[in-house]
């Protein structure tokens, strides 16, 4: 039975006293997690470990309830092992691997316990796989007792790809178990991009913190930058001016437009449909250049700042942006509609790489990839932040879960982002754009969520008694969704991997941190 006292709820960007977070006995914690995620009405936004002085680890869970706009926060202390939560809460599977790798805590009974980033444990002398300081820790080096997933049998063969791929793309390693052309299983091994960002954020904020955020996943500088600024503003009890929120919103939608447009082109490229590939390659740049018009940088660097934005949009710039948006949108429409009207394209997109809805639900897929399976979730509506509190963007979904759905949801979102930007540019609020974001509340916890172009971005910060970050957790949408790509490839032709990979277009560095 749920007891109200065991639950603490908060909203997006609203800090809590750390001492108020209920620390439950582990069994109650596990039970609550199952209950909250039951029927998949909620998602697991974050699950992470924070070290305690006695070598025990405090697990924090942040679940979201979209229909109520609320996050639930709870905690439990564990020693060097505990019964795996994944067994009853599949959404926890990747989080538990992260906790095991970072703090040397073993979730007993986890179905596939392997490192996800391949760095040494942060807990002195404790490693979940019993590796000694002399053992090599590197992607590709499987800790004793683990191996790649293997299918055995006549005519079964293995294909290993990466970390260096054929295209200009970040590194990752993919292992396919195949029967002829048919893929039985795909295992994805990441960690090559690990830059140790979360560790460097501890003790902050400092002069580098924001720059880490802008390069966590460089194609999502505005998404992660905004999530971080909400943390700073929430903890400093400062509200950014409304005009700054509007400009952040415009930049966030331009980021979505650039990436979605580029992806439609890349999808066309991967099936050899060159007209759309060629048009969208150029058009992606037009959206990036629109961002550069606002702030001088194509990726929105230096635009979003704690307390507001660094650059304003004056009347003549708003006019010029309107003109560019209309012109680019006309051409993107032409390029995108060629896809849906070309039977050879549709034949390649439809029924390719389908992720069944129940699988997407169980694994907690987020964002555009989740919406392509019919999951009606979008942080811009469900956990409204910034300008989205006042101006809603309808949520775009499709029900087929295949490459077509992931492409088509992008097209739907493109249209809605354009409409949003048009409206914003016409009605920019007449406030200033920047306020001081001062010192942070001590001994607090804050959850900040934005909807980046890939999906839900969740940052959770804990502060110490001096108002410095004692812990900072970043959950990029890719963290939830890489497993979705593995599922999409089951029983597909291996030659369809590129188009499926592109249809998710997940971040390597955003995952590896």
């Amino acid at each position: 039975m749920t007891q109200v006292a065991e639950q603490l709820t908060t909203t997006n960007g609203c800090p809590l006293p750390l001492a108020d977070v209920p620390v439950l006995p582990f069994d109650a914690f596990a039970e609550q997690l199952v209950e909250q995620l039951q029927g998949n009405s909620s998602g697991l936004s974050a699950l992470f470990g924070v070290p305690r002085s006695d070598l025990s680890v405090r697990l924090y869970a942040v679940t979201n309830r979209a229909t109520a706009g609320l996050f639930t926060v709870m905690a439990a202390d564990v020693g060097d092992r505990y019964p795996s939560l994944t067994v009853n809460t599949p959404q926890a599977h990747w989080f538990e691997r992260e906790i095991a790798e970072q703090w040397g805590v073993v979730p007993e009974g986890h179905p596939w316990l392997k490192p996800i980033r391949f760095h040494r444990s942060y807990a002195d002398g404790r490693d979940a796989w019993g590796r000694s300081p002399d053992d090599e820790v590197l992607p590709g080096v499987q800790p004793a007792g683990t191996d790649y997933f293997k299918v055995r049998g006549e005519e079964v063969h293995e294909v290993a790809v990466g970390p260096v791929h054929a295209g200009v793309i970040e590194p990752g390693h993919f292992r396919f178990q195949c029967h002829g052309e048919n893929v039985f299983s795909l295992e994805i091994e990441l960690g090559f991009q690990h830059r140790g960002i979360e560790r460097q954020l501890i003790g902050g904020p400092d002069k580098r913190s924001l720059h880490f955020m802008e390069t966590l996943a460089g194609d999502t500088s505005v998404g992660h930058g905004t999530a971080y600024c909400q943390i700073r503003e929430g903890l400093a009890d400062v509200e950014a001016p409304l005009r700054a929120h509007a400009i952040r919103g415009i930049a966030m939608e331009l980021e979505r437009l650039a990436n979605h447009t580029g992806d439609l082109g890349a999808l066309a490229q991967d099936i050899g449909f060159l007209p759309t590939a060629s048009f969208c390659g150029r058009l992606r740049g037009d959206w990036l250049n629109a961002t550069a018009l606002i702030c001088g940088n194509r990726f929105g660097r230096s635009l979003v700042r704690p307390g507001g934005v660094r650059f304003d949009i004056d009347a003549s710039m708003a006019h010029e942006l309107q003109r560019r948006v209309e012109s680019a949108f006309r051409d993107v429409s032409g390029a995108a509609n060629l896809l849906w009207n070309t039977p050879t394209v549709m034949a390649r997109f439809e029924d390719c790489g389908e992720v069944p809805r129940h699988v997407a639900d169980d694994l907690g897929l987020v964002g555009m990839a989740g919406r392509a399976c019919g999951i009606d979730r979008d942080a811009r509506r469900d956990f409204p932040f910034g300008i989205y509190r006042f101006h809603q963007i309808p949520v775009s979904t499709w029900h087929t879960g295949d490459v077509f759905a992931r492409a088509y949801v992008r097209w739907l979102e493109i249209q809605r982002s354009v409409r949003f930007i048009r409206d914003q540019l016409r009605s920019l609020p007449g406030t200033d754009i920047q306020r001081d974001a001062g010192p942070l509340r001590p001994d607090s916890l804050i959850v900040s969520v934005t909807e980046g172009w890939r999906g839900e971005i969740c940052h959770v910060a804990l502060t110490d008694s001096d108002g410095r970050f004692s812990h900072y957790k970043v959950v990029d949408p890719s963290f939830h969704n890489w497993i979705g790509l593995a599922m999409a490839l089951r029983n597909q032709e291996i030659s369809d991997f590129p188009v499926n990979n592109k249809s998710f277009n997940l971040s390597y560095c955003g995952h590896d941190l």
Binding site: E170, R195, R208, T215, S221, G281, T342
Partner: protein, 261 residues
């Protein structure tokens, strides 16, 4: 088919005229090559150096700006009490040696071309393999964009190829994470000699925002030898293209300011 042709017609011809014609107009707020007017600096002022997230600016007697560390952000400009620092519209920033990236009031010594023998080999056909070794996907994206119809890298005989075995050189992004170091070395070794290496972006040159973090290597230097450094975070695609063309001897306008600037 007719729809495709109609759309092709309405999308128009998009390849830029540069380098034969004018470069495209960059936004007014574009942050190109920074200049510091040290004569404006108050005695003992260290505001910019202290604000710089990567310690790219040092003030020890004379003022030095290391473009290899610079993120081209606004932190120094916002900190400066005298408006002594500004960004110009100059996108030309590629150089041949690490030392050339350290500005101390002299004009930036832009990249010389390869020696004559290498130019004969690569001048009209340069095949590059890209390796991201911890890059955040911004540098990667702005390398990729060179393949689009706007920049049309292929018209210069430069291609990004799928295998190091097919390549004449590497174009590297990212600070070189510990977890990519071996893969980067292996890729370098797989390229037949003679070969060239191009480091793109602050990370690949110095570690960028991650400089001195554990688990990375402060850039490509020290892992493989570098022939061309292209600074930025990320560099504008024009900066990358300009660097490549300089290396091949296709542009030789020295360090003169751009017309009209």
């Amino acid at each position: 088919m007719l729809k495709v042709l109609y759309e092709r017609h309405s999308q128009g011809h998009r390849t830029m005229a540069w380098p034969d014609g004018d470069p495209p107009k960059l936004p007014d707020r574009y942050r190109g090559l920074p200049v510091i007017d040290a004569s404006k600096c108050p005695e003992g002022c260290r505001e910019c150096a202290e604000a710089c997230p990567t310690d790219a600016i040092t003030v020890n007697g004379s003022m030095k700006l290391d473009l290899g560390r610079c993120l081209f952000c606004t932190d120094c400009i916002d900190a400066c009490p005298e408006e002594a620092i500004e960004y110009t519209q100059d996108f030309r920033q590629a150089v041949r040696t690490r030392e050339d990236l350290v500005l101390d009031g002299e004009a930036l010594r832009l990249a010389d071309s390869l020696d004559e023998k290498s130019r004969k080999l690569f001048g009209h056909s340069l095949q590059l393999r890209q390796v991201s070794a911890g890059g955040c996907n911004a540098c990667e994206a702005d390398i990729n964009v060179l393949g689009t119809i706007v920049f049309d890298l292929g018209r210069f005989g430069i291609h990004l190829v799928a295998s190091p075995r097919h390549a004449d050189g590497l174009i590297i992004t990212g600070p070189v994470t510990d977890n990519m170091k071996l893969a980067l070395k292996k890729t370098y070794n797989a390229i037949p000699a003679p070969k060239i290496v191009i480091a793109v972006g602050a990370c690949a040159i110095s570690g960028g925002p991650f400089v001195d973090n554990p688990v990375q290597n402060n850039g490509v230097d020290g892992v493989v030898p570098v022939d061309l450094y292209i600074p930025g975070c990320p560099p504008h695609p024009m900066t990358i293209l300009d660097g490549l063309l300089r290396l091949l001897g296709r542009i030789e306008d020295g360090s003169q300011p751009l017309a009209g600037k």
